[in-house]
């Protein structure tokens, strides 16, 4: 039986065991302040989702890669010093299934048969991911329409869900199983309850049709559709959607130096900025908002599914829906993509 129960009065001990020998990250704070952070107080089970997606743990906005300096008295004078992957053994509690799915999409970008990104790999492979299922999805949630589920398991080691008097757990991997056993959770049978709750939570979300239609359409048909200029017109060109997206993974490597040395770092980049595609020659293959906005939606809903066996680049977390200052709602754009003719 891979299911376990932690009673309410045993929760504090449970979290203490999780933190043993690891860094334990869990959602702290409420509303827009809810973030994954090192646990210092009681762990909240009652939050819609973290403000930023958990990709920040594995792929921070700025990551220092190497340093160099020009001072002759330093041991690494004139030699590049690798700053490592900044990884440490970590347990994250409370990743929502949509975000776990997002992490697994990014994981295929950073670790596949062609490339391995050491900075991502170190952190990803040393982290045990405990998900928290959504009993009551928020109005902006549409994970089921994106092929996920409020009880989705992809990318997780353990799936937890709040029960009236405690926490239900379903272990999904060997690492997860060991961790939960060590935390002395009681084995129990929750399979039927899980199924019922999942059905209820999915029913609370919107329809699925548009995305299936998009799947059937050819790339060029979607690409050449005439709605793109109108879709992009209200876009402000800020990077909010990409920064908050759990699957956006584009970065830019920059060097900064002063008279004594310098640093190489990689920073989040955003395809919403004209600078993202600007060539050294001055040519820009995506010169206007229209091309940039189209790229983002095509990437999420068409290109990634093709590359990743049907797994979509959007996981339905709804962050961009809420955050976009111009209210460009990916659900409406998907509907347009499904309807529009080339």
């Amino acid at each position: 039986m891979p299911e376990y129960l932690v009673k309410e009065n045993a929760l504090a001990d449970f979290f203490q065991v999780l933190a043993k020998g690891h860094r334990l990250l869990a959602p702290q704070g409420q509303g827009d302040n809810c973030q994954l952070a090192v646990v210092s107080g009681p762990v909240s089970l009652n939050y819609a989702n973290t403000h930023l997606s958990p990709k920040t743990v594995f792929f921070p906005q700025t990551e220092k890669i190497l340093a160099f300096h020009k001072l002759a008295d330093k041991p690494h004078y004139n030699v590049y010093q690798d700053l490592g992957d900044h990884a440490e053994p970590t347990v994250i509690f409370g990743i929502r299934p949509c975000d776990a799915r997002g992490l697994s999409v990014s994981n295929k970008v950073f670790q596949n048969d062609r490339f391995t990104d050491p900075y991502w790999k170190g952190k990803y492979d040393q982290t045990v991911k405990i998900g928290l299922a959504c009993l009551d999805p928020s109005p902006q949630c549409f994970c089921a329409a994106m092929g996920g589920s409020p009880f989705g398991e992809l990318g997780l080691d353990v799936l937890a869900y709040p029960k009236a008097k405690g926490l239900g757990l379903k272990t999904l991997t060997k690492v997860g199983e060991e961790l939960i056993k060590a935390a002395k959770a009681e084995p129990t049978d929750l399979a039927n309850e899980l199924k019922d709750l999942e059905k209820k939570a999915i029913a609370a979300q919107g329809p699925l049709d548009d995305y299936q239609t998009i799947n059937k359409r050819q790339i060029m048909e979607l690409y050449k559709a005439d709605h793109w200029p109108n879709t992009a017109e209200p876009c402000l060109g800020c990077g909010v959607c990409t920064f908050f997206c759990p699957t956006c993974h584009c970065f830019d490597i920059q060097d900064e130096a002063n008279e004594i040395g310098g640093l190489r770092m990689r920073n989040w980049d955003t395809c919403m900025s004209p600078l993202f595609t600007l060539h050294g020659s001055g040519h820009n293959p995506r010169p206007s908002k229209t091309e940039r906005v189209r790229q983002r939606f095509m990437h999420k809903l068409k290109y990634i599914p093709i590359k990743q066996d049907g797994i979509r680049g959007c996981t339905g977390c709804g962050r961009c829906v809420v955050m976009c200052p111009a209210n460009i709602d990916i659900r409406s754009v998907a509907a347009l993509m499904a309807q529009a003719s080339a």
Partner: protein, 317 residues
Amino acid sequence: MGNLETITQKIRDKAKNLLSSGQAEVVIGYRQGTIPLVAAPFFARKAEDCDKLVWSSFARLNLANYLPSRKGKVALVAKGCDARSAVGQVTENQFPRENLYILGVPCSGLVDPALVAAKEPRPIREAKETDDAITISGQDFSLDIKKEEVLRRNCRTCSHRTPTLSDELTGPEVPSLQPDDFSDIKDLLAKTPAERLVYFKDLIKDCLRCYACRNACPLCYCPICFVDETRPQWLGKSNDPMDTLTFHLLRGLHCAGRCTACGACETACPVNIKVREFNRVLDRSVQENWSYEPGLAWEQKPPLTVYQPNDPAEFIK
């Protein structure tokens, strides 16, 4: 019929009129948002689009932002602050007056969703409004909130609620509030310099440098922003706090004397930074030194493009 419905109807009727008579090729207004407490920018080009136009106290973006470098005749739905921004665009030669029709909306202040969330943290599935209250509801709850309790900070100090210059008003004038006395930054100015530096560094600590504040701002129309310049590169691309502070200081300086306090920057900010704090400090200086308010006249020149031989500057030795 409440005032909001009357204004909405007026906007729709007028928009159809303007489009069919050729006075405008596009009407830039607001539509109902796809999530509660939001009205989104909407571009109406055909008569049937016009019925999607709405007026609501959730219309927080400044649509004058869409004017620069736009071709053709435009009708702009504009509240007091937005109309002043549009006038500013004209005076700064960013949009020709003859192509602009300002459909002015007398505005009694817009709702700040963060203040609503502070009153009701549970997920809101629907929001309805009357002239002076909103009703929010979600699973198992419904709550009436008076609008004046959840108005945005800039709306509470707004001294030009009715557009000062417009081609037509869509409703009765709204009485203006007291002239802005900058009382909201009084506490800040009373702090010691060291405390203020800590305050400002703390203010922007969550900044992601997404530049939504810049992009939502009708004043920020430079083809290449200083943050995007690469030769020289003025700002690093990391989330270094000093780079971030420099961005906010320079953004503030570039807007000095031009800002109409529309609050679009704070609306757009995804991490709820009070970015207008920088503008407030500067606007106060502008008012003290030159008693200037932007967007009140078509021929007005922004204060940094002109000078007086006797400008006060005792600090210059």
